[in-house]
Subunit: 340 residues, 3 copies
């Protein structure tokens, strides 16, 4: 699209060459053919070195640019609008069941449901109105997928899994796998390891999003529960009988061990690990790579490190060598005074 | 099911309303329609606040409950029995090959084998008696799946993979991917990165369970070996040529780098990482998020932290700031005495 | 194969029994029927205790072996040659589209392309010459797979993903999933969590290898970019808008958060985590389990720990308790002198 056409669509004015624009990108990553954007003069250096072919700038920008300029009222918003123009079109998932999908006759399919190629839906399951089940998905017996929920390719739902309305489940997510549970004993001097039956289910509330290749185990007894509006990133592990109340976030590669409860509005940062059978109070943030061995009652709003502690405590440990060096010098001085 | 019918099935006696029971759950997570259980009076507070509709209690329980009570001899055992009644029925996987499965004519299928929809089994593979291969599985050339082994949907076995008898392989497991191996050199001032051929296989012993989305790489030469009765959780990474002798556990998101050997009866906790080319002695436990850079000879039965150390050593580091503050005060006092 | 035949094929000479050789393996893991190798006399103890049936040794080896010996010029190279003889044959992926594959008529298929069973390729995609797309793969709309690229079973490419020439994408890889991005605000005292549209794509350069179950998110706007010859291991997470310039390695279970840039020739070790919106300079190595909160300008070539620091700094923290104990003793002595 020509920069002039783009400027017209975004309600802006073009200055400079009428370049051909093919995509959008940040100032630093942008290449020839890209449109970028800046709204804050403090990033003027990035504008001056960008390789973009055009840049969205506010009306009062006075620092110039090494490429064409499109002046708009709100460069941030204009860039999202422009990105939509260049984004890969969202694939159409029209209502209907692909002829190659194997849907058991007992399955209750709502109105306007899409079922993609090579998807398997087993007996007794219910797919509610407007749900999109993409290609190569496996939905076991007696599952329920709520209204308008979107399940991307190659997801598996083991038997009995319940997913609420308006959820987004990304590729490769595994819901309802057996939790890790074994009884270990000795018998005639030999170890004996017995599987504990995992008889519960996974229940996902409304508005939950779950990232690629994340795994959520079925309960031993009862439910593993992910409350409404919880947002889970990629490669996260949720153990059996975990309860996440809702409106929380779990960032990539974090893990929550069995039977732990996470309150409302928590944020678990990337690669953090939370032990089993504990409680995290509402609104607590667990920092990246933190390891939480015990319940957090909310008296600390942010923990970091392993075992998890306050930022101040972690800083004190990190500073220990410096403090020790200082003390050492002082002790040496005292010694000299005393002996000399 | 009515609470009265449930009581009869469990050989117990009902007190209170004949509530409708739909599921089982722990005291804290239970909701209306749930059956819960308690055998120890020390949890009396949880019983008093449960939202369950009925609770299994021992005959001599004298603390009452806010809901119906079913008295039984062993509440724990009775709850497992009840959970089986309410559990999603285990899907039937009757012997037979689904017509949509693509099984090479050369594949050796044992008696009573189940092969699910859209599964692909390539030439020369052997599926032994009673094995269940669910839907959408990929089994490459020359693999062997042992007797009674259960492979859940969307698992991949690359060529040559051997899985023993009585194993359970959960959704999304990847066996036999190429290990990470590259030769890096400089050529005419440019880096040259060459792939080292990964020519070995993965061999899984009898009675092994592998959790969802776990990855185990094929050996560079020879075998990556997971010994009998090893239990591996979700999202675990096992590098090429690792040897796990057997009867060990690896909890979620832990990782073992290439060519490392793990003894009998080890337990590797969640998110722990073990370096390559080292040995972990029989019976050693590696704590959650621990990082093990060197062999562990078993003189420490439990390690934690990174680099891995004893609990006592880690505690000493955590306590360092407190110790330093104390010393600082003492030094200050000494100074004053000396100078005053 | 008989050891004598093997010796002949490898240009070596056999000493001892003409054992039947079935596989190759390292000295320690080798069992009856295996061929092993040793080139360095310092491993003589491993040779003497190996259970291999034959061992490749250099011509001048004078320490004997407990099994047959095949003398060769270069035992290392000979073992790779032998391993190729015993390796599971690389499955043939002949040009052609499996009849069960669903390839949209608009897809542009190059010459000699292989498309496996139950694979789905959606409209507008391009699969270049010599590419191998194995079974049960999903390729969304408008994707591009470069020349000679090999995609293993059960990979998903969301719409618009671009993969370069000569890449290897292992089982279960997820390219182009939505990045984690939400706007959180309060509305009438209730939290409101809104999804930020993820409108960009993933672009993978030439010669990139990506390990099993790794996830790479599409950009919010623009591209998530993995530069040429980057080698990514299993279960790695790459956030939206990350830029990896090229010739870098990312080992298993490491993660890179959104919008971070990683220079040329970096090595990110296993389970390391790199925060979002920072830059890692060319050639920097991030140690296993390290956590990098801030940009690294290359003044440190290797960082470790969390927050990431030099080896020396981490060692100082680990040694703090020992240093404190020493200081404590000195202070005690001073006290006694002063008071006594």
């Amino acid at each position: 699209m020509k920069a002039s056409e783009l400027a017209a669509r975004l309600g802006g004015t073009l200055e400079g060459e009428d370049a051909e624009i093919l995509a959008c990108g940040g100032l630093e990553e942008a290449r020839k053919g890209d449109l970028s954007f800046c709204k804050d003069p403090k990033h003027v250096a990035l504008v001056q070195t960008t390789e973009a072919s055009a840049v969205l700038l506010p009306h009062d920008w006075s620092h110039g640019a090494p490429c064409s300029i499109i002046r708009v009222a709100d460069p941030n918003q204009a860039c999202i609008e422009a990105a939509r123009l260049f984004a890969p079109p969202e694939p159409e998932r029209a209502p209907g069941v692909h002829p190659s999908a194997i849907v058991d006759p007992s399955v209750n399919l709502g109105a306007n449901v899409h079922v993609g190629a090579y998807t398997v839906i087993e007996k007794g399951s219910e797919i509610c109105d407007g749900a999109v089940i993409e290609a190569q998905v496996f939905i076991g017996e007696g599952c329920r997928v709520g209204k308008g929920t979107h399940i991307y390719p190659q997801v598996t739902l083991r038997e009995g899994t319940i997913v609420g309305d308006g959820c987004i489940i990304h590729c490769g997510v595994r819901l309802g796998g057996d939790g890790y549970g074994f009884n270990t004993s000795m018998e005639n001097g030999m170890p004996k390891i017995e599987k504990i039956p995992q008889l519960g289910i996974v229940e996902i509330g409304d508005g939950v999003e779950i990232g690629s290749n994340t795994t959520i185990d079925r309960a031993r007894i009862g439910r593993t529960y992910i409350g409404p509006m919880t947002k889970i990133d990629n490669l996260v592990q949720i153990g059996h009988n975990v309860k996440i109340k809702g409106f929380s976030g779990l960032i990539a590669q974090s893990g929550v061990a069995g039977s732990t409860e996470i309150g409302y509005g928590c944020l678990i940062w990337a690669q953090a690990g939370i032990s089993g059978h504990i409680k995290i109070a509402d609104g607590v943030q667990v920092g990246p790579q933190a390891g939480v061995p015990q319940s957090l009652d909310g008296s600390l709003k942010y923990v970091i490190g392993a075992p998890a502690m306050s930022m101040k405590e972690l800083a004190a440990i990190t500073l220990a060598p410096k403090m020790i060096a200082k003390l050492k010098a002082e002790v040496k001085e005292l010694k000299q005074k005393l002996n000399g």
